[in-house]
Every structure is written in C-alpha cells, then in structure tokens.
C-alpha cells in the first residue's frame, strides 16, 4: 500500500471517528452522571439534523451559522425531556428507564415521519463535498470541518469537566450522587445539565450528518446503535473512553473496508467482534468506571 493510500485511509477513518465521537460523548456523559442508557440519543441526532436542514431550506441559514442555534435548541430539548420525563424514572428500575427512553425514541421517529415524511433530505452548501487535495490525499472540506467541530467540542467538554464548577459538580455526581447531595450539590440541576449537554452534542452530530450525508427519520437508529457500541467499548460513563473507542472503530472500519475484499460487508461485523473480544478481556471497556 502506498503512503498516499495509507494517509487517505487514515483520513477517512479519522473523519468517521469524529462523527462517532460527537454522537457518543453525549450518550456516555448522560450515563456517567445519571446511570441511564438513553435510547433516544440517536433521535436527538436526527432532530438536530432536521433543525439544521429546515433552517437552511426555509431561511437559507448556513449550517456554520445555525450551528450554535441548533446546539442551544437541542440543549433546551434535552433539558425539557429531562425535567418532564426522565426525572420521573430516575429512581425506578433500569427496565422502566429503558422503556421510557425507548418510547421517547419511537415517538420522535414517528413525529419526524409524520411531519417531514420519509424522504431523504440533504443540505447543498458549497463546502459540503468540496475536496481539498493535500499531498495526494483528498479531504472533504465539509468532513474536515466536521472533524474540527468534533475536536473543538471534545476539548470544550474536557475544559467544562475539569476547569469549571459545573464540571466538578458533574463529576462529583457521577462518582457518588449521595455524597454530592450531602455536599450541597443540587443534583437534579446537574442531571438537567448533563442531559442538555448530551442532547447538544447529539445535535452537533446532527449538523455534521445533515451536511456530509443527509437526514431522514431513521437517521437516529443508524447512529444510536453505533454510539452504544462506541460507549460500551470505551467504557460506560467515560468521555475519554468514548473518544478513544470512536478513533479505534473509525480507523478499523476504514482500513477493513478499504483493504480487505468484501470489506464493506465485513467492516461492521469486525467492529462488533472487536467489541466482544474487548468485553471478554475487559468487561468494563477501555476506560470504564468500576
């Protein structure tokens, strides 16, 4: 394999990893803080993609400009879902929590179908599939922007978690909610904050997906399933584990898909085989909580 080919395959893998990371960090943050597996997380990605699409289609708002607005709206949606629905099952058994978030997912999917039909919709902006050629490697400007967004938001999350009072509160609740409550941390507000951040990150993935791919009501299922794989591999609750697992899966899928005959069919299977092997050796994932 030539150096240019190696670089191209790596670039493709990193691009995919960026998208996976954007979806997965929000999911794992919510689990880390609340111990809830949010099955509606993929649908937040889908709603974010539709918001971006409609802002563009109806008012011509470029996704780069609507990005902040979509994040804010998604954070609001996340907070709303938390306050009105999820809060009620926080103390309930996991089965109830799973059923609730699954119900939210199906409702959002069907609402999208009812409101916007099943048509595939894509945003046509000049940078969406504009190619940059660097030393024989073709990079999409749109996907490169996506990687930069993913990297920036991940660093932003790191700073939030480790450099702010809110972050300390989030980590404290993740470690021991009872102790955090005794220390005067308003844990219900922290839960709302976690869900808002999780939904905002899912919305960011939706923005990138709507530009680099398309959107449709089942988009969330596509990403939700992969996000669960990433989060379990990285370790439930670990943001940095999710980033590492995204990188790993993105690169594995890219290399397998490109270099192995019939790799397009095998890439996903190999990802899941790797997941199984990792779980056999290290059941809590790469950086999972004990």
């Amino acid at each position: 394999m030539s150096a240019a080919m190696l670089a191209q395959v790596t670039a493709n893998g990193l691009s995919l990893a960026g998208l996976y990371a954007l979806v997965a960090v929000g999911l794992t943050l919510v689990f880390g803080v609340m111990r809830i597996l949010n099955f509606a997380h993929g649908e937040f990605v889908m709603i974010g993609a539709y918001l971006t699409y409609w802002l563009f289609a109806l008012w011509g708002v470029d996704p780069l400009l609507s990005f902040a607005l979509v994040l804010a709206l998604m954070a609001l949606l996340g907070a709303l879902v938390q306050v009105t629905l999820v809060t009620r099952v926080l103390a309930a058994p996991h089965l109830n929590q799973i059923l609730l978030t699954f119900g939210i997912a199906v409702t959002l999917q069907n609402l999208a179908l009812l409101l916007w039909t099943g048509d595939l919709r894509a945003i046509k902006v000049w940078y969406a599939s504009t190619a940059l050629s660097v030393a024989g490697v073709s990079l999409s400007l749109g996907r490169t922007v996506g990687i930069l967004i993913a990297a920036t938001l991940t660093v932003g999350l790191y700073l939030l978690l480790f450099r702010t009072e809110y972050g300390r509160a989030l980590r404290a609740v993740a470690q021991d909610p009872d102790a955090a409550l005794v220390m005067g941390i308003p844990i219900q507000r922290v839960y709302v904050l976690a869900m808002a951040i999780g939904a905002a990150y899912a919305g960011a993935a939706g923005v990138v997906a709507s530009v680099s791919m398309f959107t449709y009501p089942l988009l969330g299922f596509l990403f939700g399933l992969k996000a669960f794989c990433v989060v379990i591999l990285g370790g439930l609750g670990s943001v940095f584990g999710a980033v590492l697992a995204s990188l790993f899966l993105g690169l594995v899928e890219s290399f397998v898909g490109t270099l192995i005959p019939q790799g397009g069919s095998w890439a996903e299977a190999i990802s899941f085989i790797v997941l199984l092997l990792v779980l056999l050796v290290r059941p809590r994932g790469i950086l999972g909580l004990e």
């Binding site: 080919m5 191209q8 395959v9 493709n12 691009s15 995919l16 998208l19 099952v89 309930a92 089965l95 109830n96 059923l99 609730l100 699954f102 119900g103 199906v106 409702t107 999917q109 069907n110 179908l113 009812l114 039909t117 099943g118 048509d119 595939l120 919709r121 894509a122 046509k124 969406a128 599939s129 504009t130 190619a131 073709s138 990079l139 999409s140 749109g142 997906a209 680099s212 791919m213 398309f214 449709y216 009501p217 089942l218 596509l222 990403f223 992969k226 899928e253 890219s254 290399f255 397998v256 898909g257 490109t258 270099l259 005959p261 019939q262 790799g263 397009g264 069919s265 890439a267 996903e268």
Partner: protein
Amino acid sequence: MRELRAVMGAALLALAAMSWGAGPAVAAEDEIRIGAVWGLTGPTAGVSQEGRRGMEMAQELINRKGVLGKKIRVIFEDDKADPAVGVSATEKLITQDKVVAFVGGVGSTICNAMLGAFEKYNPRPIGVLTGCGATTIEQRFGKERGYFFVHPWEYYYQSTMRDFLLSLTPRPQTVFIAHEDRLYGTSHAKMADEYFKEAGFKVVAREGFKSGAPDLTPLLTRAKGMNPDVFYWIAYGADAILITKQGKELGFNPRLYASTVQLGTQEYRDAVGLDNAEAFVGITVWEPNADFAASREWPDLLPSTRDWVREYTARYKREPHYYSIMSYVALVAAAKGIEAAGSLDREKVVAAIEKINTMSPMGPLKFSPSKFAVNHAFKQMMIFQWQKGQKALLFPRDTATGAVRYPFPPWTPR
C-alpha cells in the same frame, strides 16, 4: 404497583407510537382492502414515497366510480427496508386487515421475504407486485398464477446495461461492481458480473457493502485505487446520494458512473444538486417523456402518458418516477381484475387479471410469461443520464432523447 404502572405506561407509549397510522383492524363490508408494503422510511424511502403517491392517486380515481359498489382502501405499511419488518407487516395485513390482495412494494429482499410469508396461507394472497427484480424470486415463486410481477427481472437490467456499455466509444475495458450485500444487490451483481465478462469486459472487483451505512469512503477509496473505467453500483437511494457526495470528496473520476433505478428519483437530484448529478447514468423502465396512448377500455383510469403526467404533476408538484406510475398501473390492474371477476373469489380475480390486455400510460399492460414466471408485465428497460437536471434517454437508440456525455466530466471544475 407504581413500578408496574410505569413499565406498562412506557410499553403502551412505545406500542402506540409504533402503530401510529396503522388504521383500524376491524373489517368493513363497504370497502375492498388492498395491502401495500413499502419502505416508507429508510434507504428505499425515495422510491417508496413515489410508489405510495402513485397508489394514492389511483385509489382516489378508482373510488370515483368504485369497484363492485364498494370503495378500494389501500392500507400502507412501512417495511423500513428490513425484511423482518416486511414480514411482520405482511402478516398483519393478512390476518388483521384481511386484505384481498397486495399491490406495490420495492426491493427484491423485501419481496422475497413477503412471498415467503404468503406461503403459509391457503389460499395465498394475490399479489400485483412492483418490487421484485431478482431472478431467484422468479425461479422460486414465478409459477404461482396469483402473483403478477410488474417490474423487469434483473436479466433485463443487466443485459440492457451491458449493451449500453458496448455501445460506448471508446469502449470501456474495466468495470468495478459495487452492490448492497443483501438479495437485491447480490443477485443483480452476480448477473452483471456474468453478463459483463461474457461481453469481454474485465470486472476488476465485485464488492458488497452495507446499504444505509453512514460512510462509503472505504469502498470508494478501494475502487479509486483500482482505477476502473466504469464504477457500477447496485443499491438504494441513500447509497446513491452518499456515493455521489463522497465520490466527489475523494476526487474519484472513473470514465463512467452508472447505477440502477434509484438514481432516477427527484429526491436524488435534489439531495446532491444538479451539478453533482450531472452525467450519472441509471436504468429506468419508464420516463415522463414517453408517449403512450390512452386505454380504449378504461381511458378515465389509464389515460395517455401526457395526461397522466399532467395529473400527477398537478397533484404532487413533482415529476413522477417510474415507481409512481408502475404502482398506479398495478393498483388499477388489481381493481379492474376484481371488477371483471364480479366478486372477490380468488380464482376468478386471478383469471380476470390474466385477461387484461390494454394500453396504459406506462405502455401495453398485458401479463405474459417471462423466463420462469407465468404472469409478468413491462419487460423493457432504458438507460438515462442526468444532464442539466433532466434525464436524457440514451439507450436503446430508438427511444433516445439525447446523446451520452462520456467520459464522465471530472469533479474538479464543478
């Protein structure tokens, strides 16, 4: 108790959401129920929505006079392009909705699963089916008189594509075949491989991939590394959009990009844009600029192509795809069969549909044997190319409305 209530509440919420739009399950005597299973969401949504529109239009026009004094009611179900979901939808339509016949559908994978589900019932439902193209289906189910196949089989596709490639100057030498890795793509790709090799083309690879995957750059990077003259893929609408976008991103410039039917939707053109769709080649059964006369027997339901296209465009403010008209004609055939039979007796309805021989806006509507099936209509296929946002018909030559743009214009100046 509180926990039980919560579990039941959540389960009910999920079930209610899943069955949204499913319609009542109680049989009504004043209507004739037709089942329609389409991939209304998922990777086949584009053509499925086109098919649904065609059936809705036919339903409304048929119901102006009714059939046997009753209204036709089409009950749509979404298979999400998933055969397991398709089978569940089929079972529900047979057992709960008590449909008289199935009409429409897209995708051989789903069609194969549906017809497999039909086998459990005696008598088997009647099907006027638009989504079956794989020869394995023709071989397995073609002898059943009650199945009317309204879509060319894959050998019509691949022989037409082969002949088109042979007509190009300079003649391409190498072909990379990519296909979605279920029945539809695999079966078509195998046949394309055989036909192309017989014609002297070198097939450099035949690669499967997951339809609906969020990233096809590995496949395209692999293909680019092999530098084929033709990149030919067999998959669904979502894949066509991604291949076009990511082919451009990677600067992949074969001498020809060619695919099958899902490339011809307005959804595809709108999603990738006119510039990016330019010079992509696809296969079609029918195009709106065809010119067929109205049926003598039923001109109100089967008008000339021009009148039908005008009516469709006025209703939906969009250009019809061939799945729109195919599903329309299929529903009219089923309704006219029931009407001619004078009852819902299965044998009488089957015999009546077999006797249909008329003109339609899609061309002559008559079921006749194909290689393995007893009842098959519409065998012709045409090659089109996107040119400035319109589909120019290129092949066969006698139906051509434009000249081929070949080789494929490079991405960089676009």
